[in-house]
């Protein structure tokens, strides 16, 4: 739906100027023979936005990102990156994009320095070797063979190659898999710096905390389709907050006006649509009756809750994830 240069996003209903749209996907489908890995997804990503694709293994995230990278053709639908077709206009798109694959892609016998220098000669206007290795904290590992790097260091080298040409659009496929927590946070800093510089980032990740911390918007995929999308806080708001505590089963429990109650043994959980009101009511009830609420916790829903909720809806007869994982 277009109105005076504005478009209502097909996926989350937000208004965005078409001039700002850097990645555009309409009804994308991707099949391998009879098996359909991506089933008609649509999304728009604005310039300078960090968009996270989430989903279980085999949900279709990597297939989607590889179609956008131009590594695979779409079976149906329309895909545009920087206004261009990533397969047909490959020569124009590639110099402006950076790609971090899900797995390596290095010749193990080469050193870190040799690897970067070779990739520098395959990159338009690259940063210097020292600059880019300092950026990912591998400056001290320049003369080490790539095959001797740890898993996390290998991912950081991959990140270095992806950002070598200061891309306008950066595709990161599970960028922090295998990294220790400190490296993961440093990687987040690099991604934030790039975003501040105007880079548009599309990332897939299994770490929901990563998406919550970094992403402006997320889309959760399941079985090749997008089942939830929007800003992380909006996606999270679709689930109730949780108040939980322990109480002997013999005690009576109050009814909270905006909450549903679940009791498992002595564990009581309220799923609340208005956390502050319901929590206040609960505490007033406990104080009035001098009731001790052991292990009391109250927290809003997290992206992980939404993710697990969506995963729990997974139809056990749907073989999609297993089929794509085996592809």
């Amino acid at each position: 739906m277009t109105r005076r240069g504005l478009e209502l996003s097909a996926t989350d209903g937000s208004l965005m100027s078409m001039d700002d749209v850097v990645i555009e996907v309409d009804g994308l489908r991707r099949s391998y023979g009879e098996f359909e890995a991506v089933r008609g997804i649509s999304l728009r990503i604005r310039r300078g936005e960090l968009f996270a694709l989430l989903g279980t293994n085999g949900a279709g995230k990597t297939t989607t990102i590889e179609v956008l990278e131009g590594l695979q053709p779409a079976t149906a639908g329309r895909v545009r990156v920087l206004g261009l077709d990533p397969v047909r206009d490959r020569d124009s798109v590639r110099p402006r994009t950076g790609v971090m694959l899900q797995h390596g892609g290095f010749t193990g016998a080469l050193t870190v320095r040799e690897t970067v220098e070779i990739w520098r000669s395959l990159t338009v206007r690259p940063q210097t070797t020292a600059e880019v290795l300092d950026l990912v904290d591998l400056g001290g590992r320049m003369n080490v063979a790539v095959e001797q790097l740890s898993g996390g260091e290998g991912r950081r080298l991959e990140l270095a190659l992806a950002v070598l040409g200061r891309p306008e659009v950066l595709f990161l496929d599970e960028p922090t898999t295998g990294m220790d927590p400190a490296s993961r946070r440093r990687t987040w800093d690099v991604v934030r710096e790039l975003q501040k510089g105007g880079t548009t980032v599309l990332l897939t990740t299994h770490y929901l905390e990563e998406a919550e911390v970094l992403a402006d918007r997320v889309a959760i995929m399941r079985g090749g389709s997008i089942v939830a999308t929007g800003a992380p806080e909006d996606v999270v708001r679709t689930l109730p907050a949780r108040i939980s505590f322990r109480l002997p089963a013999t005690e009576s429990l109050p009814d909270l006006p905006h909450a549903a109650r679940l009791v498992e043994g002595d564990r009581v959980t309220y799923e609340s649509r208005q956390l502050q009101t319901d929590l206040t009511r609960l505490l007033e009830w406990a104080n009035a009756g001098n009731v001790r609420l052991a292990s009391l916790s109250a927290r809003p829903a997290t992206l992980e809750d939404v993710f697990l909720d969506i995963a729990a809806d997974h139809d056990p007869t749907d073989q999609h994830a297993e089929a794509e994982a085996a592809r």
Partner: protein, 278 residues
């Protein structure tokens, strides 16, 4: 991690004029990568560089001063090296680079599919050409064989031959899961490529009618063009002028062209960029 980065404007990031967008530069980068990898692996260096050259020198060294048998042996040994290096070894290189996802990584960059295939093959082809050159120099300087009569014909034949072997390697790598598996998958093609008279078997070792049929295999016209280019005479002994060597080798190059088209078609049709899952 430190430092800040800014994205260049679309115009500054445009590829125009940057040498990184030129196929020849991209192939040079891939050649450097392959040569560095080869230098680090003593096994590969011994198998693909040192051993074939040593064997080749041994096989030709008994032909000192014998012009026709000597040149025929040099051409035969050259074919042997080409088949084992540019066909068998390159099949293992393509399979290994695919399994390591190096090919996929390269595809995510600026280079076209064709440039990646040629670039990956370039080091193996370069080593083969260097080995031939060493063999030819040894043959002329040490064995006292004559200088090639028409080196241009030989260069064209070498380019045709190595391109055909490389393209069949790319096609065959599709069914080769690892470098070890290449021993098995290339066995039939190695036999076919060496079955030509003048390659493994000397000329005249088989009945003439069978030789005539086997000549149409890829290395039949290759070995003939090499012999004619070097000796400046036909296999029947008729002397040729410089121009005459071109005319004499035209049918060979015609057949080589057909094989080149067939092998490139097969490479384009069957080559796989990523490992099979599951």
């Amino acid at each position: 991690m430190s430092g800040t980065m800014t994205t260049p404007s679309p115009t500054t990031a445009a590829a125009s004029g940057d040498r990184a967008t030129r196929p020849i530069w991209q192939m040079a980068a891939m050649l450097k990568m392959e040569l560095l990898a080869l230098r680090r692996s003593w096994t590969s260096t011994a198998m693909s560089v040192v051993t074939p050259l040593m064997i080749a020198l041994l096989l030709v060294s008994e032909y000192g001063g014998q012009t026709v048998p000597g040149v025929r042996r040099v051409v035969s040994v050259t074919t042997l090296i080409m088949v084992f290096l540019v066909h068998h070894h390159l099949t293992t290189v393509y399979a290994s680079r695919r399994q390591e996802l190096v090919l996929k990584r390269l595809r995510a960059g600026l280079a076209s599919d064709r440039t990646i295939l040629f670039g990956t093959a370039s080091s193996t082809v370069a080593i083969f050409l260097a080995q031939f050159l060493a063999l030819a120099v040894y043959a002329v300087l040490v064995l006292d064989l004559p200088m090639p009569r028409n080196p241009l014909v030989m260069v064209v034949a070498l380019l045709f031959g190595s391109s055909i072997m490389a393209a069949f390697s790319a096609a065959l790598s599709a069914i080769t899961r690892s470098s070890e598996a290449a021993m098995l998958t290339t066995l039939p093609t190695v036999v076919i490529f060496l079955a030509t008279p003048g390659a493994l078997l000397p000329l005249g070792a088989l009945p003439e009618s069978l030789e005539r049929v086997l000549w149409f295999l890829p290395n039949g016209p290759f070995t003939e063009a090499m012999r004619v280019g070097w000796l400046g005479r036909t296999d029947e002994g008729q002397a040729l002028s410089f121009a005459g060597t071109f005319v004499e080798t035209l049918p060979s190059f015609g057949v080589l062209l057909v094989w080149l088209v067939v092998s490139l078609f097969m490479a384009g049709r069957y080559f796989r960029w990523e490992p099979r899952h599951g």
